[in-house]
């Protein structure tokens, strides 16, 4: 397992390298944003520990560039500020987990193990509907290769629609699939989620069949290869 540690503080970097080395990982170190970007972009790491406050290029920018260049390596970000704005920005840029400084080394190792476990065993059959693609193992969906940002409920709804694409699915069926308890099933829940999904995947992909329910369809001119 090869891990890249991006940290500008020499003492912390030395400690992290030592701790990760002791845990059996091969560790590379980048002291600034530019070098980190280069290494992450060119070397096949299994995971990256990325400090957000870096000289030359900040951590969020580095992460954004990697993700834009389709570097899918799981990234754990280290932040000193612990402010939610920073966490949200980090996850927005494509982080997989975060740790707030100061942290205990055991915690970092535990998080890293979880990250590696999650990213292992990818390649799984995915669902497709036109340009819409859903990977159930990674719980990710894309349109034309662009990743969609979906909450779990939205993802679950899309997954269900994709499994039954082309078929009209009633509201009751959808709401029963989304919630297991009756008191959650208020009447406009499904409209809310369908509305949000349409905003994200494109309004025409989900048809409303009056009085019956909804149907997921491929757009005209898109080849469906299911």
């Amino acid at each position: 397992m090869r891990i890249l540690v991006v940290e500008d503080d020499p003492d912390l970097a030395r400690q992290l390298k030592a701790a990760l080395g002791d845990a059996g990982y091969a560790v590379d170190h980048a002291p600034d944003g530019e070098e980190a970007h280069f290494l992450g972009d060119t070397e096949p790491y299994d995971a990256i520990v990325l400090d957000l406050g870096l000289p030359k290029m900040d951590g969020v920018s580095v992460l954004e560039r990697w993700r834009r260049a389709s570097v899918a390596t799981p990234v754990l970000i280290l932040t000193a500020r612990g402010a939610w704005s920073e966490k949200v920005a980090g996850f927005d840029a494509g982080a997989d987990d975060y740790l707030t400084k100061p942290f205990h080394t055991e915690e970092l190792l535990a998080r890293l193990r979880a990250l590696l476990r999650r990213s292992a065993g990818h390649a799984s059959p995915s669902l497709e509907c036109g340009a819409l693609r859903l990977d159930p193992r990674a719980a990710r969906a894309t349109v034309n290769g662009e990743p969609l940002r979906l909450t779990s409920l939205e993802y679950r709804l899309l997954h269900y629609l994709m499994m039954h694409q082309g078929r009209v699915i009633s509201r009751t069926e959808l709401v029963e699939h989304l919630y297991d308890q009756d008191f959650d099933r208020d009447s406009n829940t499904i409209e809310v989620f369908i509305g949000r999904l349409r905003k994200k995947v494109g309004p025409d992909r989900i048809e409303t069949v009056r009085g019956l329910g909804y149907r997921l369809v491929a757009l005209e001119g898109e080849a469906t290869t299911t």
């Binding site: 503080d9 400690q15 500020r81 939610w84 966490k87 949200v88 400084k101 100061p102 909450t151 008191f183």
Partner: protein
Amino acid sequence: MTELKATGVSASPFLGRRAARAKSAAAAPPPKPRRQPSLVRRLVVLHAVLSAIVLAIGGVTLSAFFAERSTAAFDERLGDDVLDLVRGTSVDETGEVAAPTLTDARTGYAYSGKYWELVTPGEGGPVHAIDRSRSMWDAPDFALPAGGAPALASRAGKTFYYDGMGPAPSGGASAQPGAPAGKEHVRIAAELVHIAGVKDPIIFMVAEDRSPIDANIRTFAVSVAIALAALLAMLIGGVMLQVRFGLRPLFRLQREVASVRTGKTDRVGDDYPAELEPLASELNALVAHNQEVVERQRTHVGNLAHALKTPLTVMDAEAQARPGPLGDVVRRQVDVMREQVDHHLRRARASARQQGGGDRTEVAPLLEELALTLERIFQDKGVEIDWRAPDDLFFHGERQDLLELAGNVMENACKWCKARVRVTAEALDATRFSLTVEDDGPGLAAKDRAEVLQRGARLDETAPGSGLGLSIVDELARAYGGALALSDSHWGGLMTTLTLPRGEA
């Protein structure tokens, strides 16, 4: 004339003033004890006073001119009568003077208002009447003009015009009702003529009741006064409109500044007239400066945190690598320092917020961001966050702060839930909204809830590591004038309700 004008002047501006006051009172917060009069009022009152003075002068001048012209025309007719009298007068051999009959029939009736008289000036004494119109009856002779006979004599052949008393009592046909009792006022034309065959010069005098022209003059003055008062009212109305329209950008600026304060906009517009433009740009600069100061403070605080936290991590790891009493002490102290740093960071953030203000933040996208982030963070646990918020709901405050408030409460719910978290934002009224976060976790006993809600950082100290982390939320919510409340959720877990200021949509 002048009095009439004066009342006309004072009535209208008072109305205008009162209207202006009522308007400003409706728009402005409670009046301060010694407030400057409003601009509208100043301009309107000043304009009213100036217009009144100008119009009064104009009215007086106009009336005086009319009186002068009327009298001159009247005099001209009297002069013609004098001329007729002089031409028609004949002298017989005995030196007896015979006056002609004037065409004006009124001279034949007593006290008719039209009179003539021929007199000869005596030696320095009273005049001696030669002949007089029948209309004069037994009245005394007319007075001579100022300077008496010598003045007439020095300019023989020239007609003198002057006012005098007539024979009839006032109150005749043309007299004004209510006029003081006394003799009628007449206009007299007198001319001294030397007639061949008569030793003494003869003074020819024609007089006529002047009350008709006086009445004309009065009527004219009253009409002018009424017309000018109407004009004044229109001018004042006009200037009020003018000022209202002219000062419209000022009122707009006031509204815009208010919406900057309430966070509806973050700056005032640029399209102001040249006079207000500097004020508008100064205001924008001030707002920008304010935001910059707040931002700078936060950056400083963040920098301090960053500067301290990395060394703390290093010390912690170093201490862990060297087990023993020293290592234990260092680790414990590192934890204390970390709590201290967090605590002061929160305080600094809360005070930075109080100086800021003005921003507003859309709630729905922010909840979505947080839901996405937290589901990612709690991926292994498989937490599902069901969030609901109307699209037109805004938080009156900064995005960072709402992120802190909602982020911490939602993270807390994610930590304690079994799998489900529900977040609901709803408008309560025009100025507040609620953010409710429910989880399906074990919940919190009523006794513990009270403890959680106790103020300050105590919670973190009493339950290190496992604290609910709600004290930061409580503190920040209070800085916003909001509140934090705890109760049971649908699922028996904890329900956290934040009440926060609502921004205008």
